[in-house]
Symmetry: C2
Subunit: 335 residues, 2 copies
C-alpha cells in the first residue's frame, strides 16, 4: 500500500499530472471546477506531496544541521532549544548531531550533514579538536557555517559568542568589590577561546585593582573529577584563596561542597562564583552566584544569522561576529 502520488490522482480523475500539480497550487489557469475536484480527491485520499521529489528538483533542502559537543549539559541544551525555536519559526528542520567531545565523531558528523545536503550548519567545537579540515570542507562545499560558543579560530566564518571576557571581568571585579583579595580561577584547557577569554578577563580585573596574578591560583579544572583533586590543593595553600571563580556551575557547586567539608564557610571564608547560571544555582546551599550566558538567546541569534545567510538576507560582507552579553546574577555564595 504505497502512498498516493500526484500521478495516481491524475489517472483517477483522467487528467494530466501537470494539471493536477497546478490544481493543487490553485493556479488560476485551471478552472475552478477542476481545482475543486482535484483538491477534494486529494484530501479524501490523504495525498501528501513527496518532499524528496520537490527538494530534488529545487536542489534545496530546508534542513540545517547542528553539531554540539554535549547535550546533557545545561548551556548546550538551552542553546539547542533556542536554535530549534528559531528554526521552526522560519520553517527549517533540524538535523541533530552529537560529537561527544570527540574529534573523530565531529568529523563524521560533518560528513553526515554534508551527505544529507543540509543548507547550513551550526557547530560548536569539541574539546579534542585540533585540526579544522572538516570545517573547511563545509565551506568548500558552499554550505553556510556559523560557529557558536566554542568557535574555531582556524576557520574564517560567522560566529556567535558569549562575551566571556566581560563576563569574567565583571564577575571578578564584583568579587573584588566585596573585599576578596586572593581570587582563584578554575579554568579549562587554554586552546578553547572561551576559557582563554575568561582567564584574560579574570587577570585584567585583578590587574586593574592592583592585585597580583598568581600562577598557583589559576588552574585547569573544568570537570567534577578534576575538582575533587584541584580544589582541596588550593584550599591547602597558605594563605588559602578567599574566592573561586569557576568555569562552570558544576565545578562551582562542587566547590561549595568541598569548601564546606573542609571547614570553610561560604561565603564568609570563601566566595564562589559559577558561570552559566543553570538550574544548579538555585539548589546549592548557599545559592550560587553565577554569570548568565543567555544560551537560549545565543541559539536564536545563531540560527537567525545562519538562516539569513542561507536566504541571502545577511547583506553585511565579510564575516559577522555576534556577541551575546552576559549578566552576573548575584545570589548567596558571594559576600
Amino acid at each position: 500500500m504505497k502512498p498516493i502520488t500526484l500521478k495516481d490522482i491524475a489517472k483517477a480523475l483522467d487528467l494530466s499530472p501537470s494539471t493536477v500539480s497546478r490544481a493543487m497550487k490553485d493556479n488560476p489557469a485551471i478552472s475552478l471546477q477542476t481545482r475543486e475536484r482535484v483538491q477534494a480527491y486529494a484530501a479524501k485520499h490523504k495525498y501528501k506531496p513527496n518532499t524528496l521529489a520537490m527538494q530534488l528538483r529545487t536542489n534545496r533542502v530546508n534542513t540545517i544541521g547542528v553539531i554540539v559537543p554535549e547535550i546533557v549539559h545545561y548551556f548546550f541544551s538551552t542553546v539547542l532549544a533556542g536554535i530549534q525555536d528559531e528554526a521552526e519559526k522560519k520553517n527549517y528542520n533540524l538535523l541533530f548531531c552529537l560529537s561527544n567531545e570527540d574529534y573523530e565523531r565531529e568529523v563524521k558528523s560533518v560528513e553526515t550533514l554534508l551527505d544529507a545536503r543540509v543548507c547550513g550548519i551550526l557547530a560548536s567545537q569539541s574539546k579534542s579538536t585540533r585540526t579544522f579540515d572538516h570545517f573547511q570542507e563545509i565551506i568548500d562545499n558552499k554550505v553556510h557555517l556559523v560557529f557558536f560558543d566554542r568557535i574555531c579560530t582556524g576557520i574564517n566564518t560567522d560566529k556567535v559568542v558569549v562575551d566571556d571576557y566581560a563576563g569574567a571581568f565583571n564577575a571578578v571585579e564584583y568579587l573584588i568589590s566585596t573585599g576578596c583579595k586572593r581570587i582563584a580561577f578554575l579554568g579549562a584547557t587554554p586552546w578553547l577561546p572561551i576559557a582563554n577569554n575568561r582567564r584574560m578577563g579574570y587577570e585584567d580585573a585583578l590587574r586593574k585593582h592592583r592585585l597580583p596574578v598568581e600562577k598557583e591560583l589559576s588552574q585547569v579544572c573544568d570537570t567534577v573529577d578534576l575538582a575533587k583533586v584541584v580544589i582541596p590543593q588550593m584550599l591547602a595553600l597558605d594563605p588559602p584563596p578567599d574566592a573561586f571563580f569557576c568555569i562552570n556551575d558544576e565545578v562551582a557547586a562542587y566547590c561549595i561542597q568541598i569548601a564546606k567539608s573542609n571547614g570553610f564557610n561560604v561565603p564568609e571564608d570563601v566566595s564562589v562564583c559559577g558561570f552559566t547560571n543553570s538550574y544548579l544555582t538555585e539548589v546549592t546551599y548557599p545559592k550560587l552566584t553565577s554569570v548568565d550566558q543567555h544560551g537560549y538567546r545565543m541559539g536564536e541569534v545563531a540560527a537567525r544569522l545562519l538562516i539569513n545567510r542561507i536566504e541571502g538576507r545577511e547583506t553585511k560582507p565579510g564575516i559577522v561576529s555576534r556577541l551575546i552579553k552576559t549578566k552576573l546574577v548575584v545570589r548567596e555564595s558571594t559576600k
Copy 2:
C-alpha cells in the same frame, strides 16, 4: 558553482551516466581501467552522490524523527543522547523536534516529520496533549512509531517506559524502612501514566505497611512555582509530613530548601527523595536521594526497537513494551 553531478563526470570523460554510476560502485562489468579513470576524476572533483536523488528512487530515507516535550531537562537530554548514539551506530540521522509541552506544536512536529518522510518516529508526549489523532496519523502513514517515557495510552504501538511503579514503590518502602510514617507525594497531572504509576506505587507501598493513604498528603506539584506554594502548605499541616517523595529532582531540591528555611532539618525532621537522579543530586545540601531512571539506556533501547521495526528485524508480533528498571540511589537527604 553547483556541485558536480554524475552526468558532469560522464560528459567530461565522454562516457554515459550509467557507466559512471557503475564505475563508482566497482561494478565488474566496467573495465578496471575505466573504473579507475572515473574514480580518480570523481575524487579530484570531490563528487558527492546526491542523497536526495537516491532517496527519491528508493523511497527510503535513513532518518528518524524525535519529538521531546523539553530539552533543557536532565532526563530528556540523557534520553536524546542515548537515541543519538544508537542512531549513529546504525547509520540513521536524527531529525529533532521540540514540542515545548504544547499540544499544537506537537501536532505540527508530527506533520513536519511526516512531510520529511522519516522512516520512524520516537516520541514522548507533551503534558497538554489530550487527543491523539496526530499520533494515529503516523501509524496510518505506515511510519513506525515508538513512544518513550510519556507514552500515549490512546495509541496502540511499541513503547519503552521506566518502571515507575516499582521505582516509586521501592523508594517509598525505603522511606518507611527508615522510620518515616507520614510520607507526602508531590506528583504530576494524573493523566500522565508516569505520574499515575508512581502514585500507585506510592500508595501500594503505604498500604503494604499498613500506613494510611491520605488525600491531603498527595498533591500535584511538578514545577518549581507550584513547589513554592504547595510545600509550605504541607509543612503547615498538623502533624507535618516526615518525608517527601517528589516527582522530579527539581521539586525535591526546592523541597530541601523550603523545608530548611521553614526550620525543618533534612533528613532529621523530614526526608526528601527525588526522581531522575540528575546532577542536581550531588549539589544539594544534603545530597539528594533519588530514583535513577537510566535515561541514556532508555534512549538506546527505544532507538534500537524502532530501528529493528524499520528494518523488519523485530519479529515479535503485536506491540512490544520494554521496561527500563529504576534504581534507588541513597544519599544524604533520607535517614
